[in-house]
């Protein structure tokens, strides 16, 4: 809780900044578009249809799609830009539709009077049409404001700071307090923004200048705070921090903090963590040097990026092939092999294993009636699953998808029979699950490797050396213990990482970094 509260001001500022910028840009786009559309009849249907189509795209998908789209245009694909564009597009529909509706609902007698007394089109727009349509337009702005505040929490997976950091991070590390702080702050912000807009609009409608000024002042104050308050990222100044990425699960949060801590301790350089990136977002961001380093797994690169199927020729061979491919195809360098595997593994509860006599994946394939299975967001789409399907002829009665943080409990409580566990996850032991060995070798090895961005070795050899010092330092028992501290112990990933680095200081072999260590 304290940890979440400490992060709150910075994240709230970032969230507010993103929301106001998106809402402002959305209003500047949609209200003039609404005016244009209501004067040029043939535009109305196509424009409203286009805005409607954008709205039907799930918000998370809309934001995620911005990443490759912007990268294709040579713009920064992760960070505030994709979030800003996605949120702006999303805010357009309610404001556009309400502008059109508001202008269409005007009394024809009033319009005729406005023309009849000699108003130009422009005078009519500003003196009659817009003021009369204002209540309907404001209703649209308020809807958009509340949506945008909520939707901005989804900017976290594309690398923009927001209250989503607390929510995504909290969900993955089972830190309910963090989730609640994030949700409550987001709800409070939505209510505040909505209230201020409403106050201002009522002040205008009821002709009460005091009310109007109060609402306006509140909004201006919020905007000033959003613009002037230093964000987490820019605080401090000094040399450009090293950016460490993390995907959306506990182990990634812990490892990203270990990497960042190692960079700070050994290379003496500032380091930031960009948490909760989507799986392929993280790699794409690294390849474009939008982040400097993160931890990935050989099997993931092998199956997802290299498009290979099957298990390969063992751990060492896959590692060698992956290293070579990364260097030549993407210019990405493997700085360290951490020393543990986090593999996809089928796991069942001990009771299910005994009752259905399951000792390996082959037994799973023969089990009748068929079992119910659940996996993380990616697994059923990944080539590992196709490979398992082919190699074992494996089929399930149902294949569900759920958040990784919920999988273990689902198996432990018997809501599903089989889950795809991560082999280094502390929750396998915590829920007393049995891992079924891949006896026909359908799943590749998943060595955890520290990937560094192209060119980092030349620009920041000290950083790469510091990271390289982690090579072989995290055996699987250590990783499970660290994961357990977060998932069961309720400690923050940063603290767990700090504890790890303090207990087993790892110095870099390079003379630069070595000189800093006694």
């Amino acid at each position: 809780m304290n940890d979440a509260l400490a992060q709150l001001p910075g994240l709230l500022t970032a969230h507010l900044r993103l929301t106001l910028a998106a809402l402002g840009a959305g209003a500047l786009l949609s209200i003039p578009a609404g005016v244009l559309v209501s004067r040029v009849a043939f535009l109305e249907r196509p424009v409203l249809a286009a805005a409607g189509i954008i709205q039907t795209i799930p918000a998370l998908a809309l934001l995620a799609v911005m990443v490759p789209l912007l990268a294709g245009l040579g713009l920064p694909g992760i960070g505030p830009l994709p979030a800003l564009i996605g949120l702006t597009l999303y805010s357009v529909l309610p404001m556009l539709r309400n502008t059109v509706t508001g202008l269409a609902g005007l009394d024809p007698a009033v319009i005729e009077a406005a023309r009849g007394i000699g108003m130009t089109d422009r005078q009519r727009l500003f003196r009659v049409d817009l003021p009369l349509a204002l209540p309907v337009i404001v209703a649209g702005v308020r809807t958009a404001a509340v949506w945008t505040v909520g939707m901005a929490t989804l900017s976290t997976p594309v690398g923009a700071e927001s209250l989503g950091n607390l929510i995504f991070g909290g969900l993955q590390t089972r830190n309910l307090a963090s989730v609640l702080v994030g949700c409550a702050a987001s709800a409070a912000l939505a209510l505040l923004l909505d209230g201020l807009i409403q106050t201002m609009a009522r002040g205008v409608a009821l002709r009460r200048p005091g009310l109007r000024a109060a609402g306006l002042l509140g909004l201006v104050a919020l905007a000033c705070w959003a613009i002037a308050a230093p964000s987490l990222r820019t605080a401090g100044g000094g040399p450009k921090p090293v950016r460490i990425g993390a995907k959306t699960f506990t182990e990634q949060y812990v490892l990203s903090e270990i990497l960042a801590g190692q960079v700070r301790r050994v290379a003496g350089a500032p380091a930031d963590v960009t948490p909760s990136l989507g799986s392929t977002v993280a790699f794409d961001a690294l390849a474009r040097r939008e982040i400097d380093a993160y931890v990935d797994y050989t099997g993931t690169i092998w199956a997802t990026l290299m498009g290979r199927s099957g298990a390969g020729e063992g751990r060492a061979a896959v590692l060698a092939e992956v290293k070579a491919w990364l260097e030549t195809a993407r210019g990405v360098h493997v700085a360290a092999v951490l020393g543990f595997e986090n593999s996809y593994a089928f796991a069942v509860s001990r009771a299910t294993a005994a009752r259905r006599r399951l000792a390996s994946v082959s037994d799973l394939a023969e089990a009748r009636p068929l079992l119910r299975a659940a996996a993380d967001y990616e697994f059923w789409q990944r080539s590992e699953w196709r490979s398992v399907e082919r190699r074992y002829g494996l089929a399930f009665a149902e294949r569900r998808t759920m958040d990784p943080s919920l999988l273990y409990a689902a198996a432990g409580q018997g809501q599903v029979d089989v889950i795809t566990a991560y082999s280094s996850d502390g929750r396998i032991a915590a829920y007393d699950l049995v891992v079924l060995p891949d006896d026909r070798g359908a799943i590749p090895p998943y060595d955890a490797v520290v990937l560094v961005a192209p060119g980092l070795a030349t620009d920041r050899p000290d950083v790469v050396a510091a990271l390289a010092a982690l090579d072989g330092r995290i055996p699987v028992e250590t990783m499970r213990a660290l994961n357990r501290k977060v998932d069961q112990g309720g400690e923050s990933p940063a603290r767990v990482a700090e504890g790890f680095l303090a207990a087993a200081p790892v110095s870099a072999p390079s003379p630069v970094a070595g000189s800093r260590e006694p």
């Binding site: 007698a109 009033v110 005729e112 009077a113 023309r115 007394i117």
Partner: protein, 253 residues
């Protein structure tokens, strides 16, 4: 002075106005009378280009209306609307001031002129800060007239100005309008379906049917020599009323 020559307006397949010509001299008020659909309102709206003519032309003070920018033409001609059309978000004073604000007059000048014109239409000055929704029908129409007159136009167009009012209020407004007319020497056109009102207000009356002018002349001319059964029919009702009341009062009305 308004001159209308061979005015035609087509809406799709229907011919709403079919070759109408007339002339309204300085200080004269012409009433256009006819049943609904006779083209009288369309004719009126073509004078200040709220409706554009399909053919024919309108001369306002000798200048072709088609060659004047519509908003400038309309600023020179006061217009009283059938459905009043007050701006619901503006107070009575702001409604009346609007034509002056459009041309960017000074604040003091506007305030003084608004007070003057509200007095002219015999409206209680305490109503100035009210919104239109807080007014009675008669008060609304007075505000509408004030707004039409605020910029001191010499020309006015009135579209069924008192049609929606109860008989007592209508009579009061008609009387104030007659006083205004003689005071301001207004030149104008009033559209009405009520021949009684036309006889009361206008110097000349044009009777329209199916987009054409059936007869145009002074009330006396129309009464003396109606050129068409329609004209007689339309005159019949006010005459019958007058005879009836005369009978009741024994000729002392």
């Amino acid at each position: 002075m308004i001159e209308v020559e061979g005015l035609v307006r087509r809406f799709g397949a229907t011919l709403a106005v079919d070759g109408v010509s007339f002339r309204v001299g300085e200080g004269e008020l012409l009433a256009l009378v006819g049943f609904s659909g006779s083209g009288k309102t369309t004719t009126l709206k073509m004078i200040n280009r709220l409706v554009e003519p399909t053919a024919g032309r309108v001369l306002v003070d000798g200048a072709d209306a088609a060659l004047t920018a519509p908003h400038e033409l309309r600023r020179r001609i006061g217009y009283v609307f059938q459905r009043v059309g007050l701006f619901p978000h503006l107070s009575v004073e702001e409604n009346v001031a609007m034509p002056l604000l459009l041309t960017g007059r000074g604040r003091e000048e506007v305030r003084a002129r608004v007070a003057e014109v509200l007095a002219l239409v015999e409206l209680d000055p305490s109503l100035g800060p009210r919104l239109p929704a807080q007014l009675s029908g008669g008060q609304e129409q007075r505000v509408g007239v004030a707004r039409a007159l605020v910029a001191s136009p010499r020309l006015v167009l009135l579209d069924e100005p008192f049609g929606a009012l109860d008989p007592v209020t209508r009579d009061r407004l008609q009387q104030s309008f007659l006083r205004l007319r003689s005071r301001l020497k207004l030149t104008g056109v009033v559209v009405t379906h009520d021949m009684g009102e036309a006889l009361l207000l206008a110097d000349r009356i044009g009777v329209m049917r199916a987009g054409r002018m059936v007869q145009i002349g002074t009330p006396a001319e129309l009464l003396r020599a109606p050129a068409d059964p329609l004209v007689s029919e339309m005159l019949e009702s006010p005459l019958r009323h007058a005879r009836h009341i005369q009978g009741l009062t024994g000729g002392r009305a």
